[in-house]
């Protein structure tokens, strides 16, 4: 979003690293620089630039918090000293530079201890150790991220409380919001369920910590925004300061959304020298920005994990962050908020109760050792009769939260006592709605599911019943002042705990509802946020009222100034229908928010909701594999051999015929888990289990998968079945790497003209057949000139923002105009006219996912992406690889390159490396192959090669290797296990790792062809 046109005067698609930032400074000669807005990456980069004198050299002034203050908070020792000066208690911790020191410190403090790597993002390399053995292991890893490791006494079981503090240069201070973690200390705040404001603190406790926050922030000298985290004793008013983040953080984003106070906006103004008293409250527009928001609702943040996507990953939550996204739910009571939130995380849960039964062998252990499922285990335990005291003993979660959860269980039990919907009385129904039950949960609880055999129909029965009772939600505003002053705010949520709505509905059919994309998760991230926002912009510009429904606090689409009305609420059928009933919109856009809105299309259509653009029936014709396939066949379009199968036996039968690898795709599932290549039986079974969790109504589609095929994407916009604009991009990796993980090149550089011609023809046919009006994406596989259609989505895809930005043609704007029925012209721009190349590379987070196998292919695994431009592929690729954290190796590269085919593929790259003076290390087989081809290398041995030296893991540990290329021969468990130790060691030791031959070759070619210094520092606008 930040790299969208109009956001800044100049945008550089370059790595946020000291070298590149210095060169941009050199070129742009800015007066000032803001360090606090780009998270830890930007902060670290800024500190380095300050320390190396670059900022001084170019006369760049650091706006906002001074760098010294940042350093005082980042270096633990300085930090503790600083707070000692004002008698503020910190967690006793010792900074250690060696493992030996760490061991001694731990002994002094007494186990359990917590280890933290200094200057590390999201608790990277941090963790708890109960004994010396655990400490040795963790310390080794921590030291690979940071030269300084901190050993602290663990305060497990204490409450974790945060304050967001703002200070201006006149020393005026406010705390905008405080937050309380549902999970006690010990779980990273990014991994915790968090509520705002705090719920279990008395006035004296709240204000004690608040006053301390202000004292700290003044003493450190923050100008702008800052976050203070506390550990708080649940049995007294004792506290420890955990840390201070001298920058905007994940928590600040949450606090902004939780309160309606625009922290980043205010912090930027304060950085420029304004005083808080000079700024107005952005919501009321009349009152001062110097105030502390009063909430009259409670918000609940719940992290979204995708741990099941990773092979071998450790599912236990702890002090390092594994979640990939989060949701925020707003309610007028805690039960409502948390039930909403548990639905929002989008993992097939319907709230706190009435979910699919979890299979847990040892409930006590599962409560004691927190995992991503813990809150549901609490539900299970309560149903099984565990008392609040027992659960509190095991989890240390404050009893207040547990009592509230128990209240949900009690309501659920009352519902279950209704033997049929006919005996469900009005009061109970209203109570259930007030405490966050959906029609679905109620229908299931009263046994309607069994009675009707169709949950959707059963939910509709409850919906109609409650409507007949007049039990309807009301719309409330978030206005920062708890209704004390009139506010024109359009920041809204729905609740049943109320008798009147705060807003009026005009019924003029001038509003357009855009459905958002929900939580960031693997497979759906900021790309869809961009798409949603572009749609909102166009809608507004064209004179309609724009309405957004979304609940992800990290997004721009949930900034209340992005649209005319923001419903910060669920994207369930029920809630969307509630809003549509109230808004009576001109139309609803389901094609810019990814798979969640797409999946609602048919159900909304059944209720006669006007869906803009491609019709729901046509969406279904593309989503339903059988319908889509027969359409392709009818039109003579090739597709991989496939079959829709309903049992494991039938799947095996099919695979026996076509062989592995196969592409497996359950119909109608969440994006990301939607499509997978499985190379062996184990993988297949694991994936199907995962998919079955998501949807049972539709059969699984298995298709033959072609190896060594190119994968090509077509992103396009059509009107009434005719393509208006399109972008064809190619994957650098061969098909088999999930399209969300692949490195994508646009415009395509290595696709036959004939293939392009066929792609265009096939796409035109499909657009016409499906009467597409709006955005769509088709994925192709091509080998030689054979072209197969893998899938087609009648919605914007993940790559829309990337191709729009490279092409400098906003495809969503165009698509939205089409959907609004406005006149459109075919843009004159053609991708083949571009004189530059864009590369989209994926960002992986394996270093946070302990024990996960960092191999690509099976499921989508990346958690982010970058887009970089260059005058040629090498330059764009090099920039993008550096952006996602790769480094150009200095001297040594370890090759372990799988089977014969892969070894051969890597030969050219190996030669280049040697020619450019690199030293190669290779595992036994690869080493032999290199020797046979006359490439000198040092052999390293597998752990299993007894008596042979040197061992590969030792070489890695000794930091002798600058980059690892490890290619699994295939994805069989045996092969994966072999390479796993190398891959995991590389990740844990923070050595760049590539697991794909095509990408490795391309990267090696790039850095052996050009130096980093050769990368031109060109702004987006300079690519013409």
């Amino acid at each position: 979003m930040q790299t969208s046109e109009g956001v800044a005067d100049q945008i550089y698609f370059l790595p946020v690293q000291p070298y590149f930032v210095e060169r941009v400074i050199e070129k742009e000669r800015p007066d000032g620089i803001l360090l606090a807005f780009g998270g830890q990456t930007a902060l670290n980069c800024g500190v380095e630039l300050y320390q190396s004198g670059v900022l001084q050299k170019y006369g760049v002034k650091v706006l906002g918090t001074p760098v010294q203050a940042i350093m005082d908070t980042e270096d633990r020792e300085l930090f503790v000293e600083k707070l000692n000066e004002i008698n503020v208690k910190t967690i006793k911790s010792e900074a250690c530079a060696t493992i030996e020191q760490a061991r001694r410190a731990a002994e002094n403090l007494g186990y359990p201890v917590i280890l933290r790597a200094a200057y590390a993002l999201g608790g990277l390399g941090s963790g708890f150790c109960d004994n010396e053995e655990e400490l040795n292991k963790l310390a080794e890893k921590a030291f690979s991220f940071s030269p300084q490791v901190l050993v602290e006494k663990s305060l497990k079981g204490w409450k974790e409380i945060e304050y967001e503090v703002v200070r201006d240069r006149f020393d005026n201070c406010i705390t905008v919001c405080n937050m309380e973690n549902f999970d006690p200390l010990g779980i990273h705040t990014g991994e915790s369920i968090v509520v705002a404001p705090s719920q279990t603190l008395s006035n004296s406790e709240y204000h004690k910590l608040r006053a301390l926050s202000i004292k700290i922030v003044r003493h450190i000298g923050i100008v702008g925004e800052c976050n203070v985290q506390y550990a708080f004793d649940p049995k007294s008013e004792d506290y420890r300061v955990i840390e201070v983040n001298a920058r905007l953080s994940r928590s600040s984003a949450l606090a902004s959304k939780a309160t309606g106070y625009p922290l980043a906006f205010v912090a930027a103004k304060l950085g420029m020298g304004y005083g808080l008293f000079e700024l107005k409250n952005s919501v009321t527009k009349t009152t001062s920005a110097f105030f502390e928001p009063a909430l009259d609702y409670v918000v609940c943040k719940i992290p979204r994990w995708d741990l099941s996507k990773f092979r071998g990953v450790d599912k236990e939550l702890g002090s390092s962050m594994k979640s990939v996204g989060e949701v925020m739910a707003i309610g007028r009571n805690f039960e409502e908020a948390i039930q909403k939130g548990l639905r929002m995380i989008g993992q097939g849960m319907h709230g706190f109760v009435e979910n699919k039964e979890l299979k847990i062998d040892d409930i006590d252990a599962a409560l004691r050792e927190p995992t991503d499922k813990r809150v549901f285990i609490i539900s299970k335990a309560m149903h099984k009769g565990y008392t609040i005291d027992q659960i509190h003993e095991l989890t240390k979660i404050d009893k207040w939260f547990l009592e509230k959860l128990k209240h949900i269980i009690d309501i659920d039990e009352s519902l279950k006592r209704c033997t049929s919907v006919n005996v469900l009385d009005k009061e109970l129904l209203r109570t259930a709605k007030v405490y966050g039950f959906t029609d679905f949960q109620i229908a299931r609880a009263v046994g309607l599911e069994q009675e009707m055999g169709n949950m959707h129909k059963a939910s509709m029965v409850v919906r109609n019943l409650r409507k007949s009772y007049g039990i309807l939600p009301v719309v409330k505003q978030i206005d920062t002042l708890a209704a004390e002053y009139p506010a024109q705010t359009n920041y809204l949520y729905l609740t049943y705990s109320g008798v009147a709505s705060d807003v009026r509905f005009d019924n003029d059919r001038r509003s357009i509802v855009v459905l958002g994309s929900g939580a960031y998760r693997i497979g759906s991230s900021v790309e869809f946020d961009w798409c949603g926002v572009q749609a909102l912009n166009t809608i507004r510009r064209e004179g309609y009222r724009s309405v957004m429904i979304n609940y992800n606090p990290e997004t721009v689409s949930t900034d209340y100034d992005m649209c005319d009305r923001l419903y910060f609420d669920e994207l369930t059928f029920e809630r969307v229908m509630d809003i549509i009933d109230l808004e009576t919109p001109h139309g609803v856009i389901v094609s810019t928010g990814g798979q969640i809105p797409n999946n609602l299309a048919m159900k909304l259509d059944e209720q006669h909701v006007p869906i803009l653009g491609t019709s729901a029936t046509d969406i279904d014709n593309a989503e339903d594999r059988a319908k889509f396939s027969s359409m392709l066949t009818r039109n003579g379009i090739n597709q991989p051999e496939w079959s829709a199968l309903t049992s494991m036996d039938k799947i095996n039968e099919f695979i026996d015929r076509v062989g592995f690898p196969v592409l497996v795709r359950p119909s109608y599932v969440l994006s990301g888990a939607a499509m997978n290549v499985c190379s062996n039986r184990e993988e297949l079974e694991r994936f199907l289990q995962l998919a079955a969790n998501v949807s049972e109504d539709h059969p699984v589609v298995v298709s033959r998968f072609i190896e060594h095929a190119k994968e090509i994407e077509m992103d396009a916009v059509a009107k009434d079945g005719e393509i208006l604009a399109y972008a064809i991009s190619e994957h650098i990796e061969f098909a088999g790497v999930h399209s969300g993980d692949a490195t994508i090149q646009f415009p395509p550089q290595k696709v036959y003209i004939e293939t392009v011609r066929r792609i265009k023809r096939v796409s035109r046919q499909i657009a016409k057949e499906l009467h597409i009006s709006g955005p769509f994406n088709i994925q192709f596989m091509a080998r030689d000139n054979d072209l197969l259609v893998i899938e087609c989505n009648l919605r914007a895809s993940r790559s829309f923002p990337f191709v729009s930005k490279v092409l400098k043609l906003n495809l969503i704007d165009l698509a939205t105009r089409v959907m609004l029925g406005l006149p459109v012209e075919k843009p004159k721009k053609n991708l083949f006219d571009l004189d530059y190349v864009g590369i989209k590379a994926s960002q992986f987070s394996f270093n946070r996912l302990q024990k996960a196998d960092p191999v690509l292919g099976v499921d989508m695994a990346s958690t982010g992406e970058v887009g970089c431009l260059g005058d040629d592929t090498n330059s764009a690729l090099l920039t993008s690889m550096l952006s996602v954290g790769h480094r150009i190796p200095k001297k040594t590269v370890l090759l372990s390159t799988g089977g014969g085919k892969q070894k051969a593929e890597m030969l050219e790259a190996a030669k280049r490396l040697v020619k450019n003076g690199y030293e190669l290390y290779a595992t036994s087989g690869t080493s032999r192959f290199l020797n046979e081809n006359g490439i000198s290398n040092t052999t390293v041995y597998w752990p299993t090669d007894e008596g042979m030296q040197p061992k590969v893991l030792d070489v890695l540990r000794d930091k002798k290797i600058d980059m690892v290329v490890n290619i699994p021969k295939d994805l069989t468990p045996r092969e994966l296990t072999n390479g796993y130790s190398i891959r995991r060691a590389a990740i844990d030791l923070n050595i760049p790792l590539i697991t794909n031959t095509r990408l490795a070759s391309a990267f090696i070619t790039a850095f052996t062809t050009m130096r980093v210094e050769d990368i031109e520092i060109k702004a987006w606008s300079e690519y013409k």
């Binding site: 006035n203 049995k235 004390e484 009147a500």
Partner: protein, 359 residues
Amino acid sequence: MRNVTLVLQDGTKFHGKSFGYDAPVAGEVVFNTAMMGYPESLTDPSYAGQLVTLTFPLVGNYGVPPFTFTADGLPTFMESDHIHASAVIVSDYSEQYSHWNAHESLADWLKREHVPGITGIDTRELTKVLREHGVMMGQIIFDDEPNNIPQAQYEGVNFVDRVSCKDIIKYNEGAGKRVVLVDCGVKANIIRNLIERGLEVVRVPWNYDYTGMEFDGLFLGNGPGDPDLCQEAVNILRQQMNKSRKPICGICMGNQLMAKAGGANIYKLKYGHRSHNQPVRMVGTDKCYVTSQNHGYAVDASTLDKDWSELFVNMNDGSNEGVRHNTNPWFTSQFHPEACSGPVDTLFMFDLFVEKLTL
């Protein structure tokens, strides 16, 4: 829980359930936007005669601390020795509570002190009605006793006289500088703050003539209702000011009495300031403070005599937040520097007072 209806003077009705003492009650309906601090608020004498609506929907979470007293007779955790609000109105009363210092639930406390509490009310909508219409009288009526209609008056009632102490109470005798504290309904934390700063406190009834007493400074405490009904206190204050330059500090009602003595007029705010987040600015400076407030009346600063200036101003609505004499050490705040409940950023007011005493 019995069903109840809150009926406002303009006829608006809200339906809820009784969770406190089961008795109909009437009073002035006001709202407070603080997110915590109900034990302190309910025992704040300034809420006398009022049905207090808490806009934060979840109430009762941390129960109620024990009603113990310290050696000098002040409550350990409360602001006076009993609940002064006539009733409390909430959206979602939390029947279960959890806190290490909790002694009982809010419901049990209300029942013990015979104070009604109602829950299930759309307190946001109620607040909007009060905001648009201004505060008004309201009645809590039990649905099963529709003829049991409670009556009450707020305007014209001298609540200060009801809540003020009747006899002189001394704290910290012989400790040091002696301060006369005029009790219009003073909160315990004002007394605590004076004691903590080593002062001897002589707490006198609101209309007590202290001008003949021996003391070093005068402190005017907070209190409920309309300051125009406290003319007696203003007259005594004027006498004192004519007689001596001794330091005088005032809070809330104290600000209003001082301003009246300085010639200013008082008016009733449409819906008052009751919250923890009122921004005030020290006039003529860049210093801003987040303050705790609880008042329905305000000083019209434009009517102050020429010897007086405005000390603080509200950054939201421009209303007066404190006055000072141009030459004498007399200064006040409309907000509550003693907090309890609320932010403690303006405790320096007490330090300033001590500073003036020791000059």
